[in-house]
Symmetry: C2
Subunit: 247 residues, 2 copies
């Protein structure tokens, strides 16, 4: 089936299942090998990548809808999700389906943006039946996205940056066990600048949110770095009202 046939097939069902005019788009951040990556999908027969998204069921909280959409795309439960803005310019979405104006997908949508931070290693990207791809793309080398999705993504990133002291970045983007250099590189990636190692060390230690594990990370060249994990209770307490630091 072509994309149009598929969508037509779904249109009637969608009309009775979902709230009209409302969509959800998710900006999913992951951290892999020192690089921030974003989860993107590509519809069958379309050239542009887009943010994973979906719709809100008639009797569903929008937060629950975002969780449902994200879980379907990542296989990960307990993803950290936060609404950051709603996009509603009058011509933001219809043009993408202008060939088939009768489709459910071709109506005007106002999209609620959520960003997510997930452990890259826990995610297995899953394409749905109207997409042929669902992949991690590095934030630094993104192509132009469909519709206004580049705008949405930029806004998500900016929100994350300005809320760096209030968002549980490390806890959600790093694996269970990690090293201090990894944590520092994560913050450097998000802030877009390098940080002084010694000062970073003292700041993190002063927060008292880390637990040093017995075993260092083995295998690499050079000295094996210490492994740490977060003390989740202390971590959440520290970030509850924002850590008091300017980085």
């Amino acid at each position: 089936m072509t994309l149009d046939e598929l969508l037509k097939d779904r249109s009637e069902e969608a009309k009775s299942t979902y709230l009209s005019h409302i969509s959800i788009d998710c900006v999913v951040f992951g951290f892999d090998n020192g690089t921030i990556k974003v989860l993107l999908v590509r519809m069958k027969g379309k050239r542009h990548w887009m943010l994973p998204g979906g719709f809100v069921e008639n009797h569903e909280d929008i937060d629950d809808a975002a969780i449902r959409i994200l879980t379907a795309r990542t296989g990960a439960d307990k993803v950290y999700l936060q609404q950051f803005a709603t996009f509603g310019k009058k011509d933001r979405s219809q043009a993408f389906f202008k060939q088939s104006p009768a489709l459910w997908h071709a109506q005007r949508f106002i999209s609620i943006g959520y960003f997510a931070m997930v452990d890259f290693n826990q995610v297995i990207p899953v394409a749905d039946d109207i997409s042929d791809k669902c992949e991690w793309l590095p934030l630094q080398e993104l192509p132009a996205l469909a519709m206004d999705h580049s705008t949405i993504l930029s806004k998500a990133l900016k929100t994350l940056q300005t809320q760096v002291n209030y968002q549980p970045i490390g806890l959600n983007l790093l694996p269970q066990e990690f090293t201090l250099p990894e944590l520092q590189k994560l913050y450097e990636s998000i802030l877009g600048r390098t940080l002084n190692r010694g000062n970073f060390y003292r700041k993190i230690m002063a927060l008292d949110i880390l637990e040093k594990l017995d075993e260092p990370r083995k295998g690499g060249a050079h000295k094996a770095p210490n492994l740490y994990s977060f003390n989740v209770k202390k971590y959440n307490e520290a970030f509850e009202n924002g850590i008091y630091d300017r980085w």
Copy 2:
């Protein structure tokens, strides 16, 4: 006409004019006599006050809809408006019109929240035809609001507080001409604590955003305070990337 009759009268027109399931609610802040006030409306025959709100026309940007709604309620153009969150719990709105489930107003709404800062003295609150009141109420003595509007208002206030260094508070909430004690009281009201006068004076002066007017404010008892106005160009430059201060 009763409220129900009025709403029924409008239902058909609303269905063809507005996007379904989407509403806009505005939290309008004003500053009067040392006190933060919020603009609220009360529907005919309803007990609870609510936020002024409205709907999005089929071919209208949501930001434009918010401006239209606000202008109708305040008579003020050029209001400072900013979207801050979207509220979409499944049961947040229908209960308010449970007696008349067929009405346009009784459908499920997802509401986009905007907050506004306006010059109290430039606003003449205007009730619309389904409301019997539209008034300023002091933030410190608010009654319980209809639906989830207390939640929406709290979120708006918290957003304003956490963005105090990024929001043009003084420029939008104060009249054209104002005194330093007034400006200080405004910040104290929003932050919820007193500030040291001497230090406040130096901070504001260091920002270099004020212009001292020739004439002091006359008429009061005691020494007449100096009048100032903002240098809008310098003001906007200073706030563009957030002023760097913790207050």
